[in-house]
């Protein structure tokens, strides 16, 4: 028996060691540094207790970053889910070249977020303003990324453009699990399209709705590449996300310990939101 069991243990050893060294240890270190005043280089630092954590709550930059990230994540999650559900319904309907269109709609998901950001950056600064001027729309005739109040909308557009691809394909997979006989039965009963959607389609794809909400929310709470490519957090700090703040403050601003404390809070926030979301949405699945 032991001869059979021993290899199972050996199979896990390399992964456990590497995972501990490169995942658990750094996470523990991050928590450790969050109680010090370490600046990231040299060897000198002191323990400061919860000082970093208290300061976080009084820091306007941190407040801004959390406000921007939440606003961004909620808007992106809602828009992405509405659009991708609509597109999935369209791609599931009787149309010609269905597979061709599915291929096109999924394309944005395979492209580098950073490069897509650079391409849109050019469109926002040089292409859309020309349309705005020709059409006489004031809001469009300047680069919205340069405006403190509008820049975040630009980042939302790029993020939605890209994330709709994945969610559409997942909704499509959900729609294909529904048996056509259900629709036949409901049309015999005289149900309209609207009624059919709310009484059959939507309840049956509830698990896919849960996955898509959680995925879209988690991905957009971690937004980084788009920020770097589109605004670098500006104008001012209007579009600085939490991960961007940790990166710039931690590596370039000498706030190593302080941003470590910020990332501990960030981790707790993401974990709590994900768990609440899953619980709430799964309970909703049962009720339906």
């Amino acid at each position: 028996m032991n001869k059979r069991m021993a290899p199972y243990y050996w199979m896990t050893v390399p992964a456990v060691v590497l995972f501990f060294v490169f995942m658990t240890l750094p996470a523990i270190q991050g928590i450790y540094y969050s109680f010090t005043n370490y600046n990231g280089f040299g060897k000198q630092y002191d323990f400061v207790g919860f000082k970093n954590y208290f300061n976080l709550f009084r820091d306007d930059n941190v407040g801004n970053a959390y406000w921007f990230t939440f606003k961004f994540a909620i808007v992106v999650t809602i828009l992405t889910n509405i659009l991708s559900l609509l597109i999935a319904l369209g791609l599931n309907a009787k149309i010609k070249f269905r597979n061709f269109f599915r291929g096109i709609y999924f394309l944005p998901n395979i492209l580098s977020v950073l490069i897509v950001g650079y391409i849109f950056n050019y469109l926002f600064s040089n292409v859309f303003p020309i349309w705005g001027q020709n059409l006489g729309i004031n809001a469009l005739s300047t680069n919205i990324l340069g405006s403190e109040s509008l820049a975040w909308i630009g980042i939302v557009i790029v993020a939605v453009w890209q994330s709709v691809a994945l969610n559409t394909i997942l909704y499509l997979a959900g729609l294909q699990t529904i048996s056509p006989t259900l629709y036949e039965a409901s049309s015999i009963d005289g149900a309209g399209k609207w009624r059919e959607f709310w009484s059959i389609t939507f309840p049956l794809i509830a698990p896919f709705f849960t996955i898509n909400m959680v995925l879209a929310m988690k991905n957009s709470l971690m937004v980084f590449d788009q920020i770097v490519a589109l605004t670098n957090g500006g104008p001012g700090r209007a579009t600085q996300s939490i991960s961007h703040l940790i990166y710039t403050g931690g590596f370039e601003g000498g706030e190593y310990a302080y941003q470590s404390a910020n990332s501990v809070i960030y981790f707790i926030v993401i974990a709590v939101i994900s768990i609440l979301q899953i619980r709430f949405l799964q309970r909703r699945e049962m009720d339906l």
């Binding site: 059979r4 992964a15 270190q29 991050g30 149309i95 709609y105 580098s112």
Partner: protein, 275 residues
């Protein structure tokens, strides 16, 4: 009932209009990459009248494209291979023993719980760690990608292995096969469908990743494709045609793979995300 049989032209029209939104940025990328500044001045949108292939030559020169492409390709390929070999093995050991032994069950939750850890929390310490271990290179990048994929991949693999009947392995044991032999000759080949999924997801996320190379890699000869676009951004500012030629070159390898393996990629990503 007739509406269910014929083509729904209204939906068809909307779907076509939607593809314009997807394709417009890509159309702009291709046309700008092929124009020169004079053509741009005439019209930003028009199809280029003369094609300026020399933009690509200059972009290749300026960004050292072949070197960074080789770096990206090497990291991506070795991460995929290492991930398939190692993560499937760990998941196998866990899934076959987690019912009976607390150690494996604990291990499962230990790995899977890392799915909730955002990268920024380990970003700062990992930079110190990798530089002290002299791992700020492609090898380090490969290893880190493999380790950070573990949480999700173990989750997906364990779910799949549970659907493979244990009787197959018991028969092999009776015939005198060792645990290793059983894994490599029976289980690993049976896992091909889920390995394709894991491989595709790993390939996409490794090739397109920007943040990890940004914080780990310091030597310019080791830059990956997204990192090169970032580093050269300042110099492109004066010449958009060159910049877009460079973007297109960096996007092209994945687009080409997608054209050929579209169906597998879509299926793979769907399966991986739903698990």
């Amino acid at each position: 009932m007739r509406s269910r049989l014929g083509t729904n032209w209204l939906v068809m029209l909307l779907v076509v209009l939607g593809t314009l939104f997807i394709l417009f940025p890509l159309y702009m990328t291709v046309t700008i990459a092929l124009k020169n500044p004079e053509q741009m001045a005439q019209s930003v949108f028009a199809i280029p009248t003369t094609l300026h292939w020399e933009n690509f030559a200059s972009a290749i020169d300026m960004t050292n494209f072949f070197q960074s492409f080789r770096n990206s390709a090497m990291v991506t390929a070795s991460t995929v291979v290492l991930t398939l070999l190692s993560n499937s093995m760990v998941a196998y050991a866990i899934s076959r023993n987690m019912e009976k032994r607390k150690f494996f069950k604990g291990l499962y939750y230990y790995f899977v719980s890392a799915m909730f850890i955002p990268f920024p929390i380990i970003m700062l310490p990992i930079v110190k760690l990798t530089s002290s271990l002299e791992m700020t290179n492609l090898l380090g990048l490969t290893l880190l990608h493999t380790v950070y994929g573990l949480a999700f991949n173990v989750f997906v693999y364990v779910g799949y292995i549970r659907s493979i009947p244990v009787t197959l392995e018991e028969a092999a044991f009776v015939d005198g096969a060792t645990t290793w032999g059983t894994f490599w000759r029976i289980i690993f080949p049976l896992m091909a469908p889920i390995s394709a999924t894991v491989g595709i997801l790993t390939c996409l996320s490794t090739y397109n990743d920007f943040l990890l190379p940004l914080v780990i890699i310091s030597d310019p000869s080791q830059y990956t494709l997204p990192l090169v676009q970032y580093v050269f951004q300042g110099q492109f500012n004066t010449d958009f045609n060159l910049a877009f030629a460079s973007y297109l070159l960096a996007l092209l390898p994945m687009i080409i793979i997608y054209l050929f393996a579209q169906k597998w990629i879509i299926n793979g990503v769907t399966q991986g995300s739903i698990k």
